[in-house]
Every structure is written in structure tokens, then in C-alpha cells.
Amino acid sequence: MKLTDYINQEIAWCPGCGNFGIRTALMKTLEEMNVDPRNVVIVSGIGQAAKMPQYIGVNMFNGLHGRALPVATAIKTANPNLLVIAESGDGCMYGEGGNHFIHTIRRNPDIVNIVHNNQIYGLTKGQASPTSLKGFKTPVQVDGVILEPFNPLAVAIALDASFVARTFIGDIEFTKEILKEAIKHKGYALVDIFQPCVTFNKLNTYEWYKENTYYLKNHDPTDRELAFKRATETEKFPLGIFYINKNKETFEEAARKGNRTPLYEYEVDFNKLKKVIESKRS
């Protein structure tokens, strides 16, 4: 089975969209890691980024706007043997799904959370997103954005997320290597990917990202304070793995006490149930 089997052939992205690069990076990652597509589920929300699983031949749960993370958490818990990727845009993950973003990090399910961060709403035609920079003008934010941008990495590190990284899709190879690390990592892994929206975002272009990012060098990702400091840098945005905490139990391990049997094999112990019913005698 190939990753190009059973997919929706009609790719609906604009020519030049950063999503193409993310698709390439993700497919390469899965191929190079020899992952069986039948054991992969991509859960997404709504938006252009959320169409990703339509175009990759794995199991797909294309759900509701903002709601990919609770679904992904439940899938991983119901069958810990699956590789579960929750993927969507910045509006979906950080805006509509902000509360789930916070609490999924607290849960720490062993999933990869890929966020296509183009700092704008594409599918709804160019409004501000939670990560749009201050002063950014749109047809809705006519005087420019007046809110502080949401800082997903700083929030994740503040919540002691177990893996926090950022890449820029102008560098597909680098993105691929980071995705591999995220998949290998046991626990919740955030990969925020800068991705130009060539149609609506005329500020954060390929060129802009090249000029306004740099690669983390000699950075110790186990140092949380340092990671937080790096995550709050805005003059130039660092790229790479900011933070890793390997000493955390995953949600599914805790919730299922280490049992990895898929719940579709679950059988009710009717003898136990009979005892529960009998206990209601006194």
C-alpha cells in the first residue's frame, strides 16, 4: 500500500501554497520510517491545512474545526498501537481549539500535533489568525490587528509539553527530520510549521520567513527555562527543537494502566458485572 493510494486526487490548495511542502515532508517522513499506512491515522479539523489527510493514503478522521486534538487523544487511547497525527492550521488549533490545545498538553497523549502556521485565515479569505502579528491589516482587522499574537511554543513550554519544535516549510529536509523526531518521541509532540499563504498573506512570505528566522544551534532542549526564553524571541524566530521532556507518562498509559490492547477487542466480564449488581442487595 502506497501513501498515494486511495487518496482524494483533487488537491484544492493554491499553486505555491506551503501546504504542498508539508505534504511532501510528511510523506517522506512516513516512507523513510517504513510506517505501515494502515496503522497511521491523521486527524484534522477544518481549513486548508485540515485537508491534508485527504491527500495522504492513511486512515483519516477529518473532523470539526478546532476539535482534532480530543478526537486524536481518544483514538490513541482506544488503540495505542496506532500512530496518531493531529494536523490543522493555526486558526483551528490555537483559536477554535485553544482550550483543547491547553488540556491535550496536560494529558500528554503520545500523538504528533502538526500545526500549519501561516499567520492568517486562508479558507475564509484572509482574516487575522491568533498568530497574526500586531498591526497586520485584513478586510476585517481594518486598522491592523490590535491583539498580541498567540505564542504557541511559549504556552506549550509553560505547560511542560513533552516535545516542542518549530520549522519553516521553505526547508523541507529540516522539517522532515524534525517530524521524524516528533514521531519517535513518546508523548505529545508539537511541531509548529511556518507556512506561507501565497494568496492572502502578503507580509509573511517565503522571503519574509527566510529573513526572520534562524536555526537553533548548540541549544540544550532539556533546559526548560532556556527553551522558554528562545520561544519568546520575536526579533527573529528560532527554528528547531526547543524543548524535550522524556520523563512524562503518556495519557493512554495512565488511563489504561499500560494496557495496549485495542478497545475493539474488549470483552465485558459479565461475572464481574453480576457481582456489581448483587452488591446492590445491601
Binding site: 477544518i46 486512515n59 473532523g63 478526537v71 482506544a78 478497545l263 475493539y264 446492590k280 445491601s282
Partner: protein, 558 residues
């Protein structure tokens, strides 16, 4: 008197629920039929809460307004009960708590008895003992139950509680000789179980193969979440308290996608937040089981009271057209059997299934024969996928075989957008129409499995009463002595067959009885059958119907 109604009244936090819990078990295990229901304020301390316990020689399962014995456990504990206290009511307790009320007052110094036994905290044990003595419960059953309750607190506390209870018992016995209380015991009752509606829903869920629960606490539905959490390790159930109802519902749908059998338990306001995800379940054809314990709305409404006001909510929730099933258990047995069934039906038809209860049902107890597990089956409908599996195969009955990821050779691809058979986004108008029709065909197929309404009472009725959900036992008791009156009770309100019209056409008069302000079910019946039910007995003040009130109102209509 063979059927006695006892009411305990006091502040939140005084332990009335503990008294209810222990006393009902003492009475039941002495061979007496019991029923208990509580009404409480939305607060943790103070205010005024009451519990009604009925004790009888025959089965009792419904709320009455009559109070034969009232035990106020605090100041102002009789204030809210004024209208229910008559000169026949025996008011028992501390002098200062019973001074201000009508009825026949009998001073029993529970506090003094407790202090004598060693601590004022034993006051509830003294009251339990007193009522046990009054009703002729077995002394050793009383001792055992008290022991069981306080075992963890050490021998001294057990001993002193028993002492307080036995002193109370003695005084209760003395009083019982003065008044006419003859409740006959039946040894078979001892073998029966005693539980509330919430526990029945919980046990039904486990019997339905439920292995995943995600919810956000909300009265009065939380007791089901608590019950399943208490048993999760015993059965290997995943129980997660979500950050909000939106997450809860999405998690449960995700769990079904991966092959689990998931449940959410919530109330009206919580379900309002789940509506979008309900529509998701409709579109991706995911099974999901929703237990919704109703309370009065709109908005926060009366958080701890009861109503049948959310039928329209669950019937119409979710944008777009898609099938669903709504069960409305009438009593504790039905709460068990229908919740069990809900999981099989959700799996079979890949639709949302509601178990619609209310505060009255989930918080009421009575004794009943053990649930029969011999006929209970878990029907699994998941298929092992083949290489060319498509999730949304167009079929005659509308049901597409449902695979789960990682089980078989194929891929399971579901999409909240309108999709083709592969699950891929489509904007093709013909495909759209075909998919809408496929989903609606499923709705027709579901009708093969309708739980028919029950006709109770006079077969040759002139007056037909229509009720659904938790009013079943109250209406049944209200019409016991009436001639020419029958009840048609619905424990499934959606879908329903148009053929139910035949019941109405035989009647001279049809009356709907509902715990809401507009007659939501009567309106639904009209929509389905064209039959307009003009007479409606409705209640919407936050309390359940009482037997007396219904007797009076039904008689007036007849």
C-alpha cells in the same frame, strides 16, 4: 397504614442522603418494599433539602405528596413543607425543630441520644434507628448496615453509632405500638437489589460494552460519570473528565472511530455544547451514546430539579438532516435495559442514540428483582476491512459496513464534509443527494427496531393518557383505581410509527402528561400522526408530578 411516606428534612451537608442510603437498605433487607426520592438545593451547605422514603407491603415506585411521618433535622426544616403537613402527619424530632409546625408532634431527642452514645455526630444514626424501630425493621439488619457504613472509621465509632441507633430503635418501637403501622414483610424483597436510576444507567452501559467515557460534570448527570469512574478499574473502562463538553463529545466520537464503545453523560446545558459534534456523528455516521439527565432550563435554570423539557433539544439538535434514536426510560429497569440496548443500536445503525432521563429518575431508588443478564448480548457490528474497503458504500438499507483503523487490510477514512463512498470531500450534487438519501434510508431501517409503547390499565379505555420517560410509575399508580382509563407509555420517543394512531382513534379522550410547559411530545405526535392531543397536563415548576396531583388532574379532565 400499610403504605407509609416518611420525609426527612434538613440543611445541605447534614447527612440526609446518608440517612436515606442506610435507612432504605435497612428497610429493604428487613423485607419491606421501599422507594426514595430526594429534592435538593443547588448548594453544598445550608438551605433545605428533603428526602421522601415510602415503605409499603407492596411495590412502591412513585412520589406522593402525603407525609405520614416527618423528621425535621434542623431549624426551618418544615417551612417549605407547610402545604404537605396535615393534622394526620406525625412530626418527630427535637422540640425546637417541631414547635412551629402543624401535625401531631412527638418529641424525640435525637441529639441527646447521640450525646449519650458518645458524640453529637451520631444524631443521624439515632434517627435511622428510630425510623427502623417505628417500621418494625430487623434489629440485626440495622446493626449490620450501620457497621458496614462506619467500618472504616474504627471499632469505637461503629460501636457508638450502633448504640445511638439501638436507642433510637427502642423509641421507635414504643411509638409504633401507639399508632397503627402494619407494613407486612416479604422475605423475597431481601433478595432484591436497591439502586437509583443513575446506577442503572451505569450498569446498563457496562452491560452494553461501554469501555470509554468522557464527560464534564453537570448536575444531575454526574452520578453516572461517578458510578463508571468507581468501576473503571474493575472493568478496564477509560474514564476521562474533559475540559468541556465539546471535548467530551468529540473524544467519545473519536473512541468509536477507533473501535471503542463510548458514552457521554450530560444535562441540557452541557449537551447544548455538544450539538456540533452530534452533527459530526450524523455526517461521519459514527455511533455515539448520549445519556442526558434533564433539568429545568433555559440556561442554568434550576440545576438540581427535574423537568422533561429537553425532548425538542435532542430531537432537533445538530444542523442538517440525519437519523437518531431517543430512548426515554420510564423506570429503573428500563434505564438499565435501554442503556444496554443503546450501545447495540448505536453500533448497528451508526447513529447517535440518546438515553433521556431526568433528575427525578436518576436520583430515585427502589427495590427491584436483579437485572437478568442471561438475555443481554453485546452485538458488535465492526467489520474487518479488505484492501479495497470504502467507508461509505451505498447500500439498500443505508448502512455501510464500519471498519476501524488497524483492523484489516483497508483504510478507514471519514470526513465531516459531504463525501463520496471513499470518504473524500465532494461538491458533486448527485453524490450529495445520494449520500443524504443513504443516511435517511438508515433512518427508515431503524424503524425495524422500535421499542413499542406499552398500554397499561383498562384495555377498554375511554380515556387514553400519553406519557414518556420518568412519569411512568407515577401515572400508573394514579390510575390504579380508575375505570375506563389507560396509559400509553413511550420509552422510545424517536423514531415512532405512524401506526400508533390506532390507540388514539379508539379513545373518547386523549390526554398528554408531560413535565414541560408546552407538551413537546404531544406536538411530536401530532407531527407524525396528524392527531392533535388537546388535553394536556403539564408541570414545569421544577418538581416531578405527585400521585395525588395526577389523580386530581386526570379526574378533572375525565
Amino acid at each position: 397504614m400499610k403504605d407509609i411516606s416518611i420525609v426527612l428534612s434538613g440543611e445541605a451537608g447534614q447527612g440526609i442522603q446518608t440517612v436515606e442510603y442506610i435507612l432504605t437498605r435497612v428497610l429493604k433487607n428487613s423485607g419491606l418494599h421501599v422507594f426514595a426520592t430526594k429534592e435538593y438545593m443547588s448548594r453544598v451547605r445550608g438551605g433545605n433539602n428533603t428526602t421522601e422514603i415510602r415503605v409499603s407491603s407492596k411495590r412502591v415506585r412513585s412520589f406522593v405528596e402525603r407525609i405520614d411521618v416527618l423528621v425535621p433535622l434542623g431549624k426551618n426544616a418544615t417551612e417549605r413543607l407547610k402545604e404537605r403537613i396535615t393534622e394526620k402527619t406525625l412530626v418527630v424530632g427535637e422540640r425546637q425543630f417541631i414547635e412551629e409546625t402543624n401535625g401531631e408532634k412527638i418529641v424525640v431527642p435525637f441529639l441527646e441520644i447521640a450525646k449519650q452514645a458518645g458524640n453529637r455526630l451520631y444524631v443521624n444514626s439515632a434517627a435511622i434507628g428510630f425510623l427502623s424501630g417505628l417500621l418494625g425493621a430487623d434489629k440485626n439488619v440495622l446493626e449490620n448496615q450501620i457497621k458496614k457504613q462506619f467500618e472504616e472509621k474504627g471499632e469505637k465509632i461503629v460501636k457508638e453509632n450502633i448504640q445511638a441507633a439501638l436507642e433510637g430503635y427502642k423509641r421507635g418501637q414504643e411509638l409504633s405500638q401507639r399508632i397503627d403501622i402494619i407494613v407486612e414483610k416479604n422475605p423475597d424483597v431481601r433478595e432484591e437489589i436497591l439502586l437509583n436510576g443513575a446506577e442503572a444507567v451505569g450498569i446498563g452501559a457496562i452491560a452494553g460494552g461501554c469501555n470509554f467515557v468522557s464527560s464534564y460534570p453537570m448536575s444531575p448527570s454526574t452520578s453516572v460519570l461517578v458510578f463508571l469512574a468507581q468501576h473503571k478499574n474493575n472493568f478496564g473502562i477509560v474514564v476521562e473528565q474533559a475540559e468541556d463538553e465539546i471535548a467530551a463529545m468529540n473524544m467519545v466520537i473519536g473512541s468509536w472511530y477507533a473501535g471503542a464503545r463510548g458514552l457521554v453523560t450530560t444535562s441540557g446545558g452541557g449537551f447544548a455544547l455538544m450539538e456540533e459534534a452530534l452533527s459530526l456523528a450524523g455526517m461521519i455516521e459514527s455511533p455515539v451514546v448520549i445519556h442526558l439527565a434533564q433539568r429545568p432550563g433555559p440556561a442554568t435554570g434550576l440545576p438540581t430539579r427535574t423537568e422533561q423539557g429537553d425532548l425538542n433539544l435532542v430531537l432537533y439538535a445538530g444542523h442538517g438532516d440525519f437519523p437518531r434514536i431517543i430512548y426515554t426510560p420510564g423506570n429503573i429497569e428500563e434505564a438499565f435495559y435501554l442503556t444496554q440496548r443503546a450501545f447495540n443500536m448505536a453500533d448497528k445503525y451508526q447513529v447517535p442514540v440518546f438515553v433521556l432521563t431526568d433528575q427525578y429518575l436518576v436520583d430515585s431508588f427502589y427495590n427491584l428483582p436483579e437485572f437478568d443478564l442471561s438475555g443481554v448480548k453485546i452485538e458488535k457490528h465492526i467489520v474487518k476491512t479488505s484492501k479495497n474497503y470504502v467507508r461509505y458504500a451505498i447500500t439498500e438499507d443505508g448502512i455501510s459496513p464500519r471498519g476501524v483503523p488497524g483492523y484489516g487490510e483497508g483504510l478507514v477514512r471519514v470526513d465531516s464534509d459531504e463525501h463520496d463512498e471513499f470518504g473524500h470531500i465532494t461538491e458533486d450534487f448527485d453524490t450529495r443527494a445520494r449520500m443524504v438519501e443513504k443516511r435517511l434510508r438508515k433512518g427508515e431501517t431503524i424503524k425495524k427496531d422500535i421499542v413499542d409503547p406499552k398500554l397499561i390499565g383498562d384495555e377498554d379505555y375511554r380515556t387514553l393518557l400519553i406519557a414518556w420517560g420518568s412519569t411512568l410509575e407515577v401515572v400508573k399508580e394514579a390510575i390504579e383505581e380508575m375505570e375506563g382509563v389507560a396509559l400509553l407509555h413511550f420509552s422510545q420517543v424517536w423514531p415512532i410509527n405512524e401506526s400508533i394512531k390506532r390507540y388514539f382513534e379508539r379513545a373518547e379522550r386523549v390526554v398528554a402528561i408531560e413535565g414541560n410547559a408546552t407538551g413537546q411530545f404531544a406536538n411530536l405526535i401530532q407531527q407524525i400522526t396528524g392527531f392533535r392531543i388537546k388535553d394536556r397536563i403539564l408541570k414545569y415548576n421544577g418538581l416531578q408530578f405527585s400521585v395525588e396531583e395526577l389523580r386530581k388532574k386526570i379526574s378533572e379532565v375525565i
